[in-house]
Chain length 444, copies 2
Amino acid sequence: MSASSHLASDEKVLIVMVGLPARGKSYISQKVARYLRWRGISAEVFNAGKLRRETPGVPHRSDFFNPDNEEAKKRREGFALEALNQSLFFLENEGNVAFLDATNTTVERRALVTKRAQSRIEDIQIVFLESICSNEEFILRNIKDLKICSGDYENMTEEEAVSDFQRRMKHYNTVYEPVSDDENVPYIKIYDVGKEFKIQKVQGFILSRIVYFIMNIHTMKRNIYLSRHGESQFNMAGKIGGDSYLSHNGRKYANCLADFVEQIPEKNLKLWTSTLVRTRETAEPMSRRLNLQGHQWKALEEINAGTCDGMTYEEIKTELPHVHAARKADKYNYRYERGESYADLVERLEPMLLELERHKEPIFIIGHQAILRVIIAYFMGQDVQEIPYIKMPLHTVIKVQPKDYTFTETRYPLNVPSTGSGSSSGDPEPKEADTSPLIFSSSL
Amino acid sequence: MSASSHLASDEKVLIVMVGLPARGKSYISQKVARYLRWRGISAEVFNAGKLRRETPGVPHRSDFFNPDNEEAKKRREGFALEALNQSLFFLENEGNVAFLDATNTTVERRALVTKRAQSRIEDIQIVFLESICSNEEFILRNIKDLKICSGDYENMTEEEAVSDFQRRMKHYNTVYEPVSDDENVPYIKIYDVGKEFKIQKVQGFILSRIVYFIMNIHTMKRNIYLSRHGESQFNMAGKIGGDSYLSHNGRKYANCLADFVEQIPEKNLKLWTSTLVRTRETAEPMSRRLNLQGHQWKALEEINAGTCDGMTYEEIKTELPHVHAARKADKYNYRYERGESYADLVERLEPMLLELERHKEPIFIIGHQAILRVIIAYFMGQDVQEIPYIKMPLHTVIKVQPKDYTFTETRYPLNVPSTGSGSSSGDPEPKEADTSPLIFSSSL
Ligand SMILES: Nc1ncnc2c1ncn2[C@@H]1O[C@H](COP(=O)(O)OP(=O)(O)OP(=O)(O)O)[C@@H](O)[C@H]1O
Ligand SMILES: Nc1ncnc2c1ncn2[C@@H]1O[C@H](COP(=O)(O)OP(=O)(O)OP(=O)(O)O)[C@@H](O)[C@H]1O
Ligand SMILES: [Mg+2]
Ligand SMILES: [Mg+2]
């Protein structure tokens, strides 16, 4: 009998992005792929532009995008087809969902993609995901924000770059054919950054999930803050689980946290905690002093250690060596007897994370070690197998900031001592020496 | 600080059904409304035809639906507008989602509905949910299955009834205008019973949830079987929770269950259990003898009684009278310390239930008392407050069968004795005398 928290899917899905430059094709495909991977679905983005930029000696000024420039057209086609090849190769092997991240702006191109994909993979589901945006101002902002730092425009002034990019867009515009009902293909169209949707012929588990996800995300930039509760009685004793009160240092941290929040320039900050005493106690000074609206989530409770709840890691090692060994062998999938695994936490946290995505306000989450590892992995895109080893010290705030297609994290150790660490680690089970730099950036 | 497992929604949504007769308007709206209510969202269906049928002296033969019959047209309009009034009244008060279940087949009618709704409720979200079905055979089957027993056709032969109903459809057909993009309104179109979807301008939490749900349901009729595990050591001791083995009688039940399953005519039966020992042990003989494909769900584990795990109800009553009292006061929302409430179970079971909806095969679920109460309430539509009191005796199989818009349940006590009951109840905490009839039917 198979045992997992959800049924595995053997779907093979090719998502073909469609749209003019700076319409969020890369942004959306990266974001959805990251979400799917976090959920344990094998998903990758294949980007034609990236291949082009990574190939030495390919010009990238706007005349390369002029449809009358025959040679350039062939070479661009070459990169797009190579990205398609890579997508299909991925789906033929371990992949479930491949995103073909190119403009695909003509009927002819889309027909070609469909034909090749169907000839190579039986039962492949092909869906066109088109972003249409008529808001000029928004597009200009996209260009300035993102395109100009993309590597195509080194050694150019912003003005030159913008106008080059606009010329490139004009070239595309002359040939752009939005996906039409006559093509008789499944599609998802996103208008004006999610103000409207048009979805046709889309079916199946993964795709209905993707539709749900896309309908709930936005591009508003706001920060997310994460912190573990302050040091608890159980932390001091080195015990896992429980529902203990804060220690003296823990209460000190709660006050420092309130100072910290008073100093950050966030409007409409929302405060989320778990239902456990130690997170609520930690939230109390900040909630009171800043009059923050709070919400307690059962889903934010610490991983359930089942029959090991209340033990120390030392005790587990000596009294339950099989538990220690099994956890060491596969910490992500190991499920505590009558408790949970990290994989279970992904399932448990998913509705909360979608709620987080829907909200436009900045949010401060006071949680627990394992839970916050799973949450930060969602943003930073770590491989799920690495989740149990992400550093998550006590008495440290992590700020997660949207940046381009991804997020950066900044860590603020608040300098309140806690058990088990001069370096405020507090993790009774460190994997390696704790030498955390203060700023990380998630990789694409 | 508010504490719940999901954030409350204050959306006000009017879902206006659109479609010719026998297109599943009532079926879909009832099913979605039942799902939303189970999730704690206040949802109701308002049906014009029901109002018409409940009003004494209204003719119901096809000439009443002839668009040239002016008086009849006015009266039909009266019923439709009354259903709209009731919908809006509901949304003005406690309602979040109202389904206006009428044909609404003309642009004019839809414009009228929109105008009235917007004039009465600011910020109302109006969405047209249209079912389009061109498969003649399917429609004929719908008519025979359902329409002819609807009360409009007493004292008629099947043949007469079908042809009367077909004439009624023709009347509608002459005026039918499918929702068009020119109307510039949000819509969800379902083609050929879910083979395709077209969704436009649909946004927001509740609606994205509804889209996700609709994309994962089907109308294939198949049965669901539910059973608690056989009597366990803990059942014998009257203890809650734990992860104990089956008792002697429990193992006997497991074998009887295999006999039972051998005698039911189900093809491709799937077997789902929880991850706990007692459900897996119960499944073992049936799985082995019928070579059934099984799946273990963490989500199917019994309600987590937290710090009360392993206690008897008597012990809780005497040692933790506050727990006993709090549970008695609000058993649905009461959350065991470090454990769960019934409301938490809804959140936990939701992904599994959607997986259940997606599957087309019959499924046998071996679960636990609280979990099965929550599952059966999903199908039978009980009010969530009643869930903790649904009878769920040991050693009894419940068969859930789709019937019209709803389900019927049939109970098969397998005559294997268990603790605490000659009547094989086994619930150590019965609310009232156990006099279960063997067949129930869910009400609309
Ligand atoms: N649905 C959307 N419509 C328009 N812009 C969006 C949308 N979603 C995200 N964006 C914004 O688009 C910007 C990113 O553009 P992105 O690089 O993804 O465009 P692109 O379509 O991949 O362009 P190119 O064809 O040049 O690769 C981001 O700043 C993001 O906020
Ligand atoms: N999307 C669908 N398209 C067509 N039929 C469907 C669909 N979904 C469910 N059905 C089937 O339609 C039948 C029920 O028809 P239902 O009574 O709901 O139609 P109706 O549109 O409400 O008709 P009426 O206008 O006469 O009230 C059920 O047997 C159900 O299986
Ligand atoms: Mg791009
Ligand atoms: Mg109906």
